[in-house]
């Protein structure tokens, strides 16, 4: 039976939500794992949930990136297990050096919580296998430091390797200033590593997995989890 670990850092706050969706919507086993754990053996995937680890102090994700459990997360990433960072989890993966770039304060200088349209730019990652490039998904965002930044010169390389996974767009899949909620370069909302087993994204798939909670009666977030589950069962 496959098992997913959802890491709890001090200040994580989407930990219970993520476990709820995995257990009750996706019907797979997921456990909460306290950040002091130094052993993730027995888990087939790891999710770093959203929230405010260490209150976003100094910079979102930086302090959590030095937690004991992150050594194990890095090992799992190297061994090819799926590693997913959602919102604060994405920030932690970036700060831990598992994903490229930086997440800076939103250019509006305000926290932003709303539903956005996301275009699938690449389905390279193990979390997007069930998506087609060009699909437009609906998911909510909720963050203060989500402005994805990377030097333009480096970005080309990541496009070439199809690591840019999701972008903020309008409902037709077009990038514009209006559709970019935080000032991310090129409207980038999610990026993966070269191997495709580590993905970070600012939007919250766990908040978009039940039609009841969606203003559009959609459940696009499930596709992220079901892609992961399919990949795990094939491993």
């Amino acid at each position: 039976m496959m098992k997913i670990s959802v890491i709890q850092f001090p200040g994580s706050n989407c930990d219970f939500d993520t476990v709820h969706v995995l257990n009750n919507v996706m019907k797979v086993r997921a456990d909460l794992v306290w950040y002091k754990s130094e052993d993730l053996r027995g888990y087939d995937a790891v999710i770093l949930p959203g929230g405010f680890s260490y209150g976003d102090r100094l910079r979102a994700g930086i302090i959590a990136a030095y937690s004991p459990v992150m050594r194990e997360v890095k090992k799992m990433a190297e061994d090819g297990y799926p590693v997913l960072g959602i919102c604060n989890g994405f920030q932690i993966l970036v700060e831990a050096g598992l994903l490229p770039g930086a997440l800076l304060r939103n250019s509006s200088l305000k926290f932003v919580c709303k539903w956005v349209n996301l275009s699938v730019v690449s389905n390279k990652s193990v979390f997007t296998k069930k998506l087609r490039e060009g699909d437009v998904l609906k998911m909510p965002i909720a963050h203060n430091e989500g402005r994805y930044f990377i030097e333009e010169s480096d970005l080309k390389e990541y496009y070439r390797k199809r690591q840019v996974v999701l972008k903020y767009t309008d409902d037709k899949g077009r990038v514009s200033e209006l559709s970019n909620p935080n000032g991310s370069i090129d409207g980038i909302a999610g990026i993966c590593n070269d191997e495709g087993n580590v993905l970070g994204l600012m939007p919250h798939p766990e908040r978009a997995s039940e039609g009841l909670l969606s203003p559009f009666n959609s459940d696009d977030g499930r596709l992220v989890f079901s892609s992961m589950i399919e990949y795990m069962s094939g491993r």
Binding site: D17, F52, A142, L213
Partner: protein
């Protein structure tokens, strides 16, 4: 004991005499300071208690009524929700960011210390004129960001609220926050110390000089010196709060927590004496055990400091380790500071030497003050204000109404709040009249907070009742059955008989109306002294009412956006010439006064019941109640959120000889707008007949919102123009677009 320059701000000569008489001796300085904190208006309700008695507090679902940190309501299947409302007005007026943030911190603690997990926050805000005043914009911007930073970080969604602007709040902004909690009924914990031998454990932040005299600060008017008066402002620490929330719930799960209290106003003094008083015990306190921020705090300061992020746990004797291990897991500072005794006294010691020894009965029960109430002259004067003329062209008037900051979209506010975390929010801010959460037992809970200072100013009795009526209408609109409410009563100086009259009237109005509806009040808060010497102005009477309701079935959840072109639009309730305090009078014409809307509890109830029944029978597709801006604004909101227009014949609106502007903009209570399709319209009319006044006033159409009288076209505005006026008005005021 060193007590330097300690000034008693609050106790009057008589009160000191009374304390002396009750004790039968002279209290020492520390004891006086403790009595001073606990007998402050803020902690003791000494002016308001006798009036608050009017409110009904019992009901079949009430598990805990007023008197505890929060009220609790049975929502079925072994679950309860807890509800509380707090304000942080004075601190926010001088430090809007920190004041509002620590206000959230405070109300979260109230919910947490009932043993319940905070699952939602709401905010009810009042500021001066943000179109004109840079000071009001500054307050508004920083209050919202304080709430946003705190609520988001602790992971509790802020799911609803309201904002009103009025010149009277220029200096005294009002920042009310509401928190909702959830737990199993068996996990409720009370703020009681009733088992001698149990330990009192202080957890969380260290005790420091910040927040000394907070309660006495809140129990006075603001002066020029208020900025400098605070020894130090309180710095919010939401990260620590998040750890306290998780640690507290985990500690309760050990089964050894027998009492719990947050340390808010009045600090350790109020926390311990109230718990001992409720449990019929005493507490021995060893002051040297309190973890301090500054070493040189003297005992008075330690006893009254209101440093943030602190909780006191009463833990079963012999099980201290089990509970403390949880605090260690979260790396939270804690110390065992005292023991519950079978005496009735709070004894404060330092290394074995007694510093204070007071019967908790005396500390926790301040003598009541009976205040004089006199009807203010202005009330009669305002009734006779003359009606303004009717503007020639009402199109620009409607657009201006939509851009009025009190009416315009509050997206600028609620998009700064994480309203989704917890994945319970089914109806989100802006989508319905109230927000709706799913509960673990498969049912749903609706919640909204409302206030209307302009109505309350002209007619405090009807205005206050009207706030409750509006909150209930908002619940009914989303398909809920109202269950209970909490109220926050905000007024000026209660020593002023005119202010006190408005206070008593407001409570009377609330009480009469809630009794008529059979709706219990399960808690609340009173905040007096909302006035300032600089402007010599008291705020308008400003009750804020938060109400909750239950929706048993998912199909009943109803939103306000128009759904289908061709459907009929029905208005429920009669429109009256009640223009006093309306946004139309004040914002368009600059007229303050006239007849404010009156509640008619029989008609209000009939309207709510019919709408509820229509929803439950599944015959209406969208519902919106009428409030600020009246019918025209409500219709525009339904059009904008549905992206559809409507064509309205306002001759069909039930009303007696009203002017056109009155029909469009009157804020008469007890009214709703419904969308019903062709297949169900007759069933709906049948249901309404004999119960309420109603009219089929038009149909949903493409493109624009049109008003005519019979065949005569009055105005027509495109949805884009409506949206432009309404959507970005607040961002425009804030200089962002």
């Amino acid at each position: 004991m060193v007590v330097q320059n300690f000034i008693f701000v609050e106790l009057t000569e008589e009160e000191i005499k009374e304390a002396r008489r009750m004790l039968g001796r002279e209290p020492n300085t520390l004891e006086l300071a403790m009595i001073d904190a606990e007998w402050s208006e803020h902690c003791s309700y000494k002016s308001s208690k006798s009036i608050l008695k009017l409110l009904p507090t019992k009901g079949p679902r009430v598990v805990i009524g007023p008197g505890y940190d929060a009220g609790a309501i049975d929502v079925g299947d072994g679950y309860v929700v807890t509800l509380h409302i707090e304000s942080h007005n004075h601190p926010s007026a001088i430090d809007p960011y920190g004041g509002a943030a620590t206000g959230i911190g405070g109300v979260l603690r109230d919910i947490l210390c009932m043993g319940t997990r905070p699952i939602a926050l709401l905010d009810s805000l009042r500021f001066g004129n943000i179109e004109e005043s840079a000071h009001s914009r500054w307050l508004f911007r920083h209050v919202v960001s304080g709430i946003s930073d705190y609520g988001n970080c602790v992971g509790v969604p802020t799911i609803a609220g309201e904002v009103e602007f009025d010149d009277c709040f220029e200096r005294n902004c009002l920042v009310d926050v509401v928190c909702l909690g959830l737990s199993k009924i068996n996990d409720l914990v009370l703020a009681e110390a009733k088992h001698p031998g149990d330990s009192a454990i202080l957890v969380g932040g260290s005790t420091g000089r910040d927040g000394i005299h907070g309660v006495t600060f809140a129990s006075r008017v603001l002066t020029e010196k208020s900025d400098k008066e605070r020894s130090a402002v309180q710095i919010p620490d939401p990260f620590m709060k998040k750890l306290i929330i998780e640690a507290t719930l985990e500690a309760i799960a050990t089964g050894h927590v027998r009492g719990l209290k947050d340390l808010g106003g009045g600090g350790i003094t109020c926390g311990l004496s109230e718990m001992a008083d409720k449990g019929g015990c005493g507490i021995d306190l060893e002051l040297s055990k309190v973890h301090l921020r500054e070493k040189d705090l003297d005992p008075v300061e330690i006893m009254i400091s209101e440093s943030q992020e602190r909780m006191v746990f009463i833990v079963e004797k012999g099980h201290e380790r089990d509970v403390c291990e949880v605090f260690e897991k979260y790396e939270l500072p804690y110390s065992i500071i005292g023991r519950v005794t079978d005496g009735g006294n709070l004894i404060v010691r330092i290394k074995g030497v007694d510093l204070a020894n007071l019967p908790v009965k005396i500390v926790a029960n301040a003598p009541i003050i009976l205040r004089k109430a006199i009807e203010p002259d202005y009330i009669k004067r305002l009734k006779t204000v003359g009606d303004p003329g009717i503007p020639k062209d009402l199109s620009p008037v409607l657009l201006k109404m939509l851009s009025c900051p009190s009416i315009a979209s509050k997206g600028w506010v609620y998009e700064q709040y994480d309203h989704e975390v917890g994945i319970r929010t089914v109806v989100k801010p802006g989508k319905g009249d109230a927000s709706v959460l799913r509960l673990p037992n498969g049912s749903f809970l609706a919640i909204k907070v409302d206030g209307n200072s302009k109505h309350c100013y002209i007619d405090p009795y009807n205005g206050a009742a009207g706030c409750l009526a509006e909150a209930c209408r908002n619940l009914v609109s989303v398909g809920a059955e109202p269950l209970a409410f909490v109220d926050h009563l905000q007024f000026g100086d209660p020593g002023n008989p005119e202010v006190f009259w408005t206070f008593s009237e407001a409570v009377r109005g609330l009480s009469d109306f809630s009794k008529a509806l059979g709706l219990p009040c399960i808690g609340g808060k009173v905040s007096f002294y909302n006035e300032d010497i600089v402007q010599k102005m008291a705020i308008k009477p400003s009750p804020a009412i938060a109400a909750i309701g239950r929706i048993e079935r998912q199909e009943w959840i109803t939103t306000m956006n128009f759904k289908h072109e061709g459907d009929y639009i029905v208005i429920v309730g009669e429109t009256k010439s009640e223009m006093g305090g309306s946004e139309y009078y004040e914002y368009i014409h600059g007229v303050v006064g006239g007849n404010a809307p009156k509640v008619n509890s029989i008609k209000e109830k009939a309207a709510m019941d019919s709408v509820k029944e229509a929803i439950r029978r599944g015959i209406v597709k969208s519902v919106h109640d009428l409030s600020k801006g009246g019918m025209a604004v409500a219709l525009a909101e339904m059009c904008m959120s549905g992206g559809m227009g409507a064509s309205i014949d306002y001759s069909k609106v039930p009303a007696e000889n009203l002017r056109v502007d009155e029909i469009l903009f009157s804020e008469t209570y007890g009214r709703f707008l419904l969308e019903v399709d062709n297949a169900h319209v007759n069933e709906l009319l049948e249901l309404m007949r004999k119960r309420v006044s109603f009219g089929v006033i038009g149909k949903i159409e493409e493109g624009s919102l049109d008003f005519s009288f019979g065949d005569k076209r009055l105005l027509s505005i495109s949805i884009e123009d409506l949206k432009d006026a309404w959507t970005n008005s607040i961002s425009r005021c804030m200089g962002e677009v």
